[in-house]
């Protein structure tokens, strides 16, 4: 089954589009941030999938194990996760201040308040 062979990538595509849809369609600023998070998570899975070698072990150098998964994507994703956390934290901090300033976290109400 070709679909099952690439199950990781199908999951990535579905998660990515779900996240993206949430960002675009939702009116609530917090929900948009959740959408961004789902979107980023899908990228993490994408990278980790690149690193997997069929039948490979964990990337530890040891006698008798020649075939191991690529370690680099994991390292990259650790960095990307940190970046993602920073973005989410900053986004939530902004939402808190927006809520204090405008008394709402709904996109359309803020736009209305800004155009006045």
């Amino acid at each position: 089954m070709i679909i099952l062979e690439h199950i990781n990538y199908w999951v990535v595509v579905i998660l990515m589009m779900t996240g993206f849809y949430v960002v675009i369609s939702h009116n609530n600023l917090v929900k948009k941030l959740i959408g961004i998070n789902i979107f980023q998570t899908s990228i993490f899975i994408l990278f980790i999938s690149f690193g997997k070698v069929d039948g490979g072990t964990a990337p530890i150098l040891s006698e008798g194990y020649q075939n191991f998964s690529a370690p680099l994507p994991h390292v990259l994703i650790l960095t990307a996760i940190v970046v993602g956390i920073a973005t989410t934290a900053l986004g939530l901090a902004l939402v808190i201040r927006i809520n204090r300033a405008f008394n709402t976290v709904e996109d359309d109400e803020i736009k209305k308040a800004m155009s006045q």
Binding site: I36, F39, Q40, L76, A80, G91, I98, A101, M114
Partner: protein, 493 residues
């Protein structure tokens, strides 16, 4: 010591940022930020002299050789951009104190300088690094700090502008990350030079086409290329004036650098231009951006928003020049990156002075300002002429080389668009000039600060002088830009 210059460029502002937080003092913060920017500027100039003959500097971080380790790579393109960014940072900060004190509440001032230094770190890092994943990390450092910078002012609308920029920026950066990941999946390396060599052997790969598509969309969001520019006007309008000045001069320029670096140095002309014809997409988008940006600028009442839309049009010029994919075209694009940075910063600094004096940037309320602020208004006119492209100013050099490059490539139909857009630039600059010089002041200005401190003119004079100098004496920027274009495109006609 001199062998470590490439990395010092990034490490100095990065280390200075926490020092500013610990010192918790606005004057010291300003002093440190200015000195650090100045040292970066000097380092950039030294680096430029060292590599001017074409001996590129390769610095391996921690002594780990590429492709396993990360390397910093300084060639002429890098040095050119480093000088622009660090130079702008230095000369903007020198005269920025009063305006910053005025527009940002006192308890946040030291945080402003911290975020500024982090932003500088990110921008310089994107340029100097020779590792594709590192580019992403530095892009995020620069972006996160710029969201903070935008929202640091008193205007509550800036919060929403920063949030919008955060959403768009994160999606853009994530798209770039996907592109880098796909390239890694094809080649197994992240080093920019290694990527270029290995990608040359990978042809007809659908993964690579996807990577390029993701990259173009991502960088389009970050560099505010026409349909993806929506975040830019709000972000520039509601942020403190000095922040708008700095972002307008630097951040979009850096992302145009990333575009050039990835399309020419990583994907390679063979793949992205000959096979996929990316240049036609970029060119059509650029033409729309030029017309749309100028049209919108005419309609605006807020001076900052007017300049923001003008920036979108000017980014269009840069993309248009690059999309010609000739030596002359790329050189014209780089010349415009340089000149536009100076001109837009001059204009925004004038607005910073106007806001300091009157407390508003609404054009309708500025009637008769020419008499009250003769120096600022005079300099605004000079910079305005420069952005229109009047001879003897920097803007003219850009337009001259751009039009020459388009004619050489045979795109005659593009020239009317450039001319029409220049005419529209006359309209939007005239709109301001008419208000400040030819309308009687019908109501008193909302004056917040009567006396203008002299320090606020320092940066303004430096940049106006640069506007005129680079209009008369083009050896430095044009010469370097042509060398870079030669490096990038090589023998291609």
């Amino acid at each position: 010591m001199t062998s470590h210059l490439a990395v010092l460029q990034v490490v100095t502002p990065l280390l200075a940022a926490p020092v500013v937080v610990i010192l918790h003092n606005k004057t010291l913060g300003w002093l440190i930020a200015t000195l650090v920017s100045l040292s970066c500027f000097i380092i950039a100039c030294v680096l430029c002299l060292q590599i001017y003959d074409g001996n590129n500097i390769v610095y391996t971080l921690g002594g780990w050789a590429a492709p396993a380790g990360i390397e910093y790579h300084v060639d002429r393109l890098t040095a050119f951009l480093l000088i622009i960014i660090s130079g702008l940072a230095t000369f903007i900060l020198i005269g920025a104190r009063e305006s910053i004190d005025n527009e940002i509440s006192a308890d946040r001032l030291y945080l402003f300088y911290t975020a500024f230094l982090l932003n500088l770190t990110g921008l310089l890092g994107v340029i100097v690094t020779g590792d594709a994943f590192n580019v992403f990390v530095f892009i995020e450092i620069a972006s996160l700090s710029s969201y903070a910078l935008i929202s640091i002012g008193r205007d509550k609308r800036s919060l929403y502008a920063a949030y919008q920029y955060l959403i768009f920026g994160t999606i853009g950066a994530s798209f770039i990350l996907i592109a880098i990941g796909l390239m890694y999946a094809v080649t197994g390396t992240l080093n920019i030079h290694d990527l270029h060599e290995r990608l040359a052997h990978v042809q007809d790969s659908r993964t690579l086409i996807t990577a390029l598509a993701f990259f173009i969309i991502g960088i389009g969001l970050k560099a505010a290329i026409w349909p993806l520019h929506i975040w830019l006007p709000d972000a520039y309008t509601y942020s403190p004036s000095i922040v708008s000045t700095f972002l307008a001069g630097t951040s979009t320029k850096v992302f145009i650098y990333v575009l050039i670096r990835f399309v020419f140095s990583i994907f390679g002309i063979e793949f992205s231009i000959n096979e996929l014809s990316v240049q036609y997409i970029l060119m059509s988008v650029a033409l729309i951006a030029i017309v749309y940006g100028s049209l919108q600028a005419i309609k605006q009442d807020s001076l900052k928003r007017l300049l923001a839309y003008s920036s979108i049009a000017q980014i269009g010029y840069m993309i248009l020049a690059i999309s010609l994919v000739t030596v002359a075209g790329v050189a014209a694009g780089l010349i415009h990156v340089f000149n536009h940075a100076i001109i837009k910063v001059t204009l925004f600094l004038c607005v910073a002075n106007i806001i300091y004096f009157t407390g508003t940037d609404s054009i309708n309320k500025l009637a008769g300002l020419g008499k009250q602020m003769p120096v600022t208004c005079g300099l605004f006119v000079i910079a305005g002429l420069s952005i229109i492209g009047v001879p003897l100013t920097a803007g003219f050099t850009s337009k001259w080389f751009l039009i020459k490059a388009t004619i050489d490539s045979g795109y005659w139909l593009v020239i009317p668009v450039i001319v029409i857009s220049s005419l529209m630039a006359i309209v939007y600059i005239w709109k301001v000039v008419e208000q400040i010089y030819f309308k009687e002041a019908d109501h008193a200005h909302v004056v917040t600060n009567k006396a203008m401190p002299y320090s606020m003119y320092v940066s303004l004079f430096v940049f106006t002088a640069a506007c005129i100098y680079f209009g008369l004496q083009t050896d430095i920027n044009v010469g370097l830009a042509q060398l870079i274009a030669d490096d990038l495109i090589g023998a291609r006609p």
